[in-house]
């Protein structure tokens, strides 16, 4: 329990302390320190959960499903904070961000981490809503940190679209609470996920379906599902790169996590009706459309961060589809994919941040010859993109293979669509990648001081996961799979 408390509270403390520090260099280090404490606590928590099954009290509940996301979040938080220390110094020295902006950045980074941990660990669906909305509020000022017209436009779009989406999710939450009131007499427990899950078959199917539509549209906006994805490429491309890394690697996951938790409730409620898979079909539809549309949009991108944010939409679509498909194999694959995608995508954004500093622009047309100017960045980008596109030795290949197998088993016709989508996305990524990495070096291009440690660690992990999934992790994911689908895979 204490480990959980430290995990959640330390980012909050960080958010309060960091802006008061006068020395920016200290703030950068303290940011890393806070993230490390959080990671240590979350690992401790993971061990507890592995031993005892579930850690829960009236407000929190940590089981195999969310503890793995908690550790992942804390881990990406640490590596991103390590990367952001020199990166943001560079940004600050180049005059794009003021001292006040830097304080805001540190405070909001930790505030964002706090909302992520709160959203993941809470048992109360209302608190889940509050913290997902809080995540928007924490990041929206960071998106506009550079104060360029584009950044402000992106931030406004992000704010308004996510505000609307999340408002619909609140309506869905109200409906859920309404359905719960018929079954659960204690009004305080009516929004508790575990209480709801234990009585799920008694919840009114009609109301639950209606609630799920609102919740899916609401949280789906955060996941970046097409057609509610409009904010995502803008916010990712205009904000500072560490922000893009955590938005893509963490926020989208958390939103998807919320959707999956809610789907579990709806599935329970609909199990006795004529259409038990309504929620699954909805997820499959949204997921597949997002997957295909984002793959096509990859081709026409001019901005490197925009391109990778479309790649995020594509992968979130794939995961949504897999969770919709249901069944142990697909769910296991989706959980693994969540993990490897977060690791790979944040590594890519870190590399892209350096690449943009080298070229002095984010425009794909002007980033050239990275591998000759600075081999580390060039290789990082090449390997990162190879990993995200699903090349064999990497973990993304494993998870995509699992997903394809699962699709083949239950809905064979969709395999064609998935394969086409993967090929389209693959082509889209590589047609832009090749000149950026190998193209002629522009005159006067200089290497920058880069911290490639996060990239190496992330890609190393992804490679390891591709070669062999360690036993403890597979057991872990299997328990999460059992939790979600009710059946073991292994």
């Amino acid at each position: 329990m204490n480990a959980l408390l430290i995990t959640v509270v330390s980012p909050l403390a960080g958010a309060l302390i960091l802006p008061s520090l006068r020395r920016l260099s200290w703030a950068g280090w303290l940011n890393v320190l806070v993230s490390t404490i959080t990671l240590a606590a979350s690992l401790n928590l993971a061990v507890t959960v592995a031993d005892h099954g579930v850690v829960a009290n009236s407000l929190f509940r940590v089981d195999a499903f969310n503890v793995y996301l908690l550790v992942l979040t804390a881990f990406v938080g640490v590596t991103t904070s390590i990367f952001s220390r020199p990166y943001m110094r560079h940004v600050c020295d180049s005059g794009r961000v003021s001292q006040r902006g830097m304080r805001l950045y540190h405070a909001m980074f930790q505030a964002f981490m706090f909302t992520m941990f709160l959203a993941l660990s809470t048992d109360n669906l209302g608190v889940l809503w509050v913290s997902v909305e809080g995540a928007t509020l924490a990041t929206v000022l960071l998106v506009s940190l550079y104060r360029t017209p584009e950044a402000i436009e992106a931030a406004w779009k992000y704010f308004i679209l996510c505000g609307v989406g999340i408002a619909l999710a609140l309506f869905g939450t109200v409906l859920l609470y309404f359905a719960a009131q018929h079954v659960i007499s204690d009004p305080e427990a009516g929004l508790s996920w575990s209480a709801l899950y234990s009585v799920a078959p008694q919840l009114q199917p009609a109301i639950m379906s209606l609630a799920f539509v609102f919740l899916l549209v609401g949280y789906g906006t955060k996941v970046g599902l097409v057609p509610m994805h409009q904010w995502l490429p803008d916010a990712h491309s205009e904000g500072p790169t560490p922000m893009s890394a955590v938005l893509s690697g963490l926020l989208l996951n958390v939103a998807l996590y919320a959707v999956v938790r809610l789907k579990m409730l709806v599935d329970g409620s609909l199990s006795a009706t004529d259409s038990p898979h309504t929620a699954g079909y909805l997820l499959m539809g949204f997921g597949l459309v997002s997957f295909l549309v984002a793959g096509l949009f990859l081709h026409r991108q001019r901005d490197i961060k925009r391109m990778f944010s479309y790649s995020s939409i594509e992968h979130m679509g794939l995961m949504t589809f897999a969770f919709g498909l249901g069944g142990p194999l697909a769910t296991f694959g989706a959980l693994l994919h969540m993990l490897v995608h977060s690791l790979t995508k944040s590594a890519i954004f870190v590399t892209v941040g350096h690449a943009a500093h080298i070229a002095g622009t984010q425009s794909i047309d002007h980033i050239r010859g990275l591998i000759r100017t600075q081999p580390a960045v060039g290789w990082g980008l090449l390997l990162g993109v190879a990993a995200i596109a699903g090349f064999p030795p990497f973990g993304v290949f494993t998870s995509e293979f699992l997903l394809l197998t699962a699709t083949m088993q239950s809905q064979p016709w969709f395999t064609v669509a998935l394969l086409t989508g993967l090929a389209v996305a693959f082509a889209g990524l590589f047609r832009h990648l090749h000149p950026m990495v190998y193209g002629p070096v522009p005159e006067g291009q200089q290497p920058v001081s880069a911290n490639m440690l996060p990239v190496i660690v992330h890609l190393g992990l992804v490679l390891w996961l591709g070669l062999s999934i360690p036993g403890f992790l597979s057991r872990w994911l299997d328990r999460a799979t059992e939790l979600i689908t009710g059946a073991h895979l292994l």
Partner: protein, 228 residues
Amino acid sequence: MSLEQLPMLQQLMLVLAAMVLFTSFVLLEQARLLAAIHAFAWQGVLVALVTAIVASSSEHLHLFFSAALTLGLKALLIPWMLHRLVRRLELDRHREPLRRPALVIMAALALVIFSYWAVVPVVQQELLFTRNIVAVSLAVVLIGLLMMVIRTQAVAQVLGFMSMENGLFLAAVSATGGMPLVVELGVAFDVLVAMVLFGVFFFQIRESIDSLDVDRMNRLTEHVEEKS
């Protein structure tokens, strides 16, 4: 249960709920910003009144607190903040009539009918005397959304956002007798922070495009001609 069996106070509540819906329409159609802010404040007052009546005629006593919170936040604090912002941004005399008022109103009415249709499963539960208001609250939410879509002025969009929040709160009150306190406080906190951030953004936007017409922010679109 029919209308005749409801006590007078609850009949009054229905009238007030209908007036909340009407203020939504006023808000949607209002050309002058200051008048729209006033309409929004009145909506907050009406929502708080409905909440107070629900609190007094049910066992949800914590709703009195929610009503006071709504009155303070939605009827006083946020309108006051918006009022100050509008004066500081010198938009007091800003007028922006709807381009096709009849079409917009028809769309809003269609949304009302849609909301009625959408919440039929809730109404059929026959649980609470407030259940008919759920449709009204969904309509308020959707009209707020419509307002955010058709208005291009940043302050007007924020008003739409805030009126959506009003609708959500009304939904919580009417469908479930209010959310648990911790959630309600969290939502109120989020709304307040959002309002502060909106204020910050008004200045950032004006600095950036010298206007608050967010339609002029169009640098980030999927342009093919950027290729050159």
